[in-house]
Amino acid sequence: MSDPTVFIIDDDPSARRGLTRLVRAAGLNAESFASAGDFLTSRFRGGPGCIVLDVRMPEMTGPELQDELGKSDYCMPIVFLSAHADVPIAARAMKEGAVDFLTKPVDAADLLSAVHVSLARDAENRAQCKEKTSIQALMEKLTPREHEVMTYVITGMLNKQIAGYLGISDETVKIHRARVMKKLHLVSVAELVRLCEKAGIPPAQ
């Protein structure tokens, strides 16, 4: 995975050049794009890093790019820049998860602060994502029956109750349960509950 980068998307050449230079002067990686389309078709689309995004652009505007990226699995944090304060657009962008909405001309301190927040948030998001991915990899080792039994175990039911629900013997439940714990390298039900929570697996109803 490459180093985190600040992606500057602005159709205006003056603003784009100045912003890129500023971000690089602050010691960060920066890549610039003249349109949302250029960015979407580039290899940087998935990050890592954050996006500094102009609002008004021909073809695809900043908010539209935000919507487009929101449809994918993961969206990098976005800092919006606008040459013309527009409250409804700003409100909407923030509601959709933008880190900040700054007006041009932007002060270096404000921009770099927002960029740092964004980069930190991206790193955090990616770490969480990575853990979830490893848990899911473990979970995939379970057989469908073991997975099913697990969802009952994390509800706190006794083996007997689980056997009743599934129409199998106490002994069988016990064997499945032991295999689950062994495959997931766990010793306690509490640990199992936490793990399922992180992996986003809900208890049986």
């Binding site: 050049r17 100045g18 230079r21 500023l22 002067a25 008004r56 040459a83 001309p105 932007v106």
Partner: protein, 775 residues
Amino acid sequence: MRFEEDILIVDDEIPNLRLLAEMLEKEGYRVRPAETAQLAIDSALAKPPSLILLDVRMPGIDGFEVCRRLKEDERTRDVPIIFVSALQEVDDKVRGFEAGGVDFITKPYQELEILARVRTHTRLHNLHVDMERIVAARTSELRESEERFRATFEQAAVGIAHVSPEGRFLRVNRKICDIVGYPLDEMLALTFQDITHPDDVESDLDQVQRLLRGEADSYSKEKRYLRSDGTTVWANLNVTLVRDGAGAPRWFVSVVVDISRRKHEEEQRLKVEARFRAVMEYSSLAIVLLSPDGRILQVNTAWKRLWGYDERQTAEVLATYNLLTDKQTIDLGVGPLIRKAFAGEPVVLPPVEYSNRRLADDLGLDLEDRTLWIQVHMAPVVGANQEVQFIVLTYVDITELIRAQDALKESEADLLRAQEVGHIGSWRLDLLGDNLIWTDEVYRLFGVAKGTPMTYARFLEHVHPEDRDYVDGEWRAGIGGKPYDIEHRLLVDDEVRWVREKAELVFDDEGTATVAIGIVQDITDRKRAEQEARRHQEALARIDRATSLGQLTGSIAHELNQPLTGILSNAQAAEMLIKSGQWEVDEMAEIMAEIVADTKRGGEVIHNLRELFREQKVEFHPLDINVLVDETIQLLRSELVIHHVALTTDCATSMPLVDGNRIQIQQVLVNLIMNSIQAMDGIAPVDRRLQIATAQDAKEVTVWVEDCGPGIDADKIDRIFEPLATWKPGGTGIGLAISNSIVESHGGRMWVENRPEGGARVGFALPVLKTDLHT
């Protein structure tokens, strides 16, 4: 005895001869005896007897030989010869008959037998002779009849043919050959189908079948034959079927009469009638045929149209009208002239005003009120007996002419008044003598005392000092052939007065201008009104620009903030780099260059804005429309972006310059583009397309702005340039009106239309700058 029979008796024995002679004479025959064969032959040939009694056995020539000889001779061939002989042999009798005898009497004979036989044979002979005579007479009659028939057939004035039931010509006469143009021998190889016009064959065959079936004995028809030379001939055909005794068809007798001439005459007559009808139908003159007693015989369509009569009214007028007793005509005083026409002399009536209303009153008819000025010609048609047969009366409707004459008289009077009112004077300049002649009105206009002698130079002194060079230049160009039609100022007692001058030159044979004749018109009031209108328009234009400013605030801020962002970011980046101590001279120079460029860009934005809103005198300069279009697009770029409008431009190359005011033309462009952008607010962003195109020809430069919006309502499009006639919500309704007045003040024109594919297209055209400044 009916008549004396003359009988020749031939016998070499005298007693026998005498015996027979006595016997026959006693019975009343006249007898000629002959003792020898030679005497007998000579006697018979000299005068053929009624009968010959011939002895067979005679010295020298025997009876058989005599008989043969007589039979050989024409004169005696028919004289019956009875042999008288003692021979009884059958052979002899046979020989006798072979020789030509009619009977054979054997000796010795009974007297009664001889007499009986002689009587029988003379009677037979007489019968035969009678018969011969009758036959000859009959034959002669027949021959005559035949000849008569042949002559009739051959010489007949009609074509005659005998035609077989299958249609083949069996017998034809010369006339029919002439009619169809085939020689006789060729005709006999043809069938009637071969020479019948294809359109007539079927009907011919039908008729022939009817005859063959016995449904008719004959038929007649008119038909066409194809002549051998390819032409067609009309004929009347009469066909009769001839049957044999058993009723079987033998042949048709066809009688053919050439009726081409009649047909031709009939066609000619029909043509003449058709032409007459056409003349009556299509003549734009009203035509009336009058009887010698004044009644209307016939009228044409133009007449009905002229008076507006329908068929019923026409019929009523025809039934009741009489020119000789028409009261209106009499009142018009043309009675004597009309009577002249009825007496046989062609006349032209003076123009008269004739009223349908009056006619309706006089005749008690229901006619529409129509009064016309008419010019009437009356031409009597005189027959061989010198009597008038009918009168051709033609009308010309001269109502329009009369009215035009009236109007012309009025307008001439108007013109004279107008010249007084309009302050128009005229002048004449004798170029060779430099002698300028003015009318009173020109002296008045120029503020010069009447009668002051004038020259071209003195005229020029009265022209406004600022316009002198212009007037002089135009005048010299005028002498060179350029149309002289100018407007300039005069300075009359320190007061500025505007005049229009127009002149025409008279050239001599060598092409040198000798005399100029011109007019001077005082247009001071018009010029003032124009200046006033221009001031109003400029004031409105300023209001419009201010309105545009309000709408453009967001865009302007955007346009300024972009370079400011570049400047600030670059400056702060430099600051950071300097603080860090890790900077390079090259990068710093680049930063500085970008800051300078961005600062200039911001300055340009402000400059353009100031230009657009600056209050200044409206001055015209040569302009390149393409450059103006580019600048305007730059100014409105963010509006396009905000509104998601995709812009395409299609600008013509090598545009000629136009003479115009930069700010005003730009204002027009801003107005049109902003209108188009706003017109598309209601449609999906992906569909918002704006096209700006420019084009040029020798005379004009044209600009179009097209959008894909809903277009303009049909009921509003005609009034689109009227002030306050907005078609968009929130519009002031002056943008297009101002734009139109700006374009018109530039000598151009503007139009609005809905595109067939949807959306509106606004275009304007400006005249190309006439001087050659742009080359």
